[in-house]
Point group: C2
Chain length 209, copies 2
Amino acid sequence: MARILLTSGPTRQYIDPVRYLTNASSGRMGCSLAEAAVAAGHEVIIVSGPVSVTYPEQATVVWVNTTDEMLSAAREQFAQCDGLIGVAAPCDYRPEFVQDQKIAKTGQPLVLQLIETPDIVATLGAEKKDRWVVGFALETEDRRFRALVKLEKKSCDLMVLNGPEAMNSEENHVEVLAKDGSVVATIDGSKGEVASQIMQIVGERLIDA
Amino acid sequence: MARILLTSGPTRQYIDPVRYLTNASSGRMGCSLAEAAVAAGHEVIIVSGPVSVTYPEQATVVWVNTTDEMLSAAREQFAQCDGLIGVAAPCDYRPEFVQDQKIAKTGQPLVLQLIETPDIVATLGAEKKDRWVVGFALETEDRRFRALVKLEKKSCDLMVLNGPEAMNSEENHVEVLAKDGSVVATIDGSKGEVASQIMQIVGERLIDA
């Protein structure tokens, strides 16, 4: 049995009190992975952005809004965990300046200067020591190559590659990639089926190994 | 009995296939207004952005994603309606250029040039002829003044003013403003209670008048 940290869902980066940047991550894949991990007898802590899925009641859920909040909560929890599955889709850009009042329309273009938010999986990957890290990559082109580059850069043990059609969908089609560049598995099916198979691979390769 | 068009929920403006600008509008106020309008015996057509509320089954719902889609669907429906209640929070800026592949992070700032999307209530207000239009204004400062300016600019018959705390909340606190600048009503309560009172005012002033 392992103590597993899951990050799940999107985060939001506000430009003013009303408008924000985000993505359509529904938290469904995180929810399915949490269910599969609980079913396999693991202890599960979820750090989640705003979603309307119902996580398994056996899991501990820490709710966050922004990417900085997700990093800080995940880092705190990771200290007591055996591994991380980073399935969240944190908003990876934020406005350099956040307006404290709603920006009024003027008829003129609005120029937003966006800067990158910290990369949660890369940050925890760099600090992992003897813990394991599974990342997720959502790519629209050069998919396998870009996913392998991320696996390396983020110090992951496994990288799960999916496309944008996975977002806010019931189904998923993924490839699980290992450090040596090999494709460990290609999985198609409902997010529940895909999650069970990913958890089985994580169990065999990272927990029971 | 009237045939009422409601716009409801947020819209999304994508910057690439994954990331988008939006706001936290939940569709709850639109849902409560639809329920109150159905209860008052009216026919209701809802043009809604992506939300997870369950609209009354007696209402016809047209789903849209972007502000342009909402305008085009609302304009088509408005032609057969007696009035419009524009409670949606359409995303009012969109990137001038939308990338067709996910923007890869480079470590450098990303400059987004945003332009205003069409104003749905103002567009339909300008074309309303003998139909009535109720607008909603969400303001964070100079609230009543800005709401009255919008009432005038958008050719509304009534303007409902609320603050950002209304978004994604169960409760609401609103002021209903008339063309002469008077405060017709100040309403506090659950979104259901607020919606019933707004529909009563709409009935008395705009439908039965």
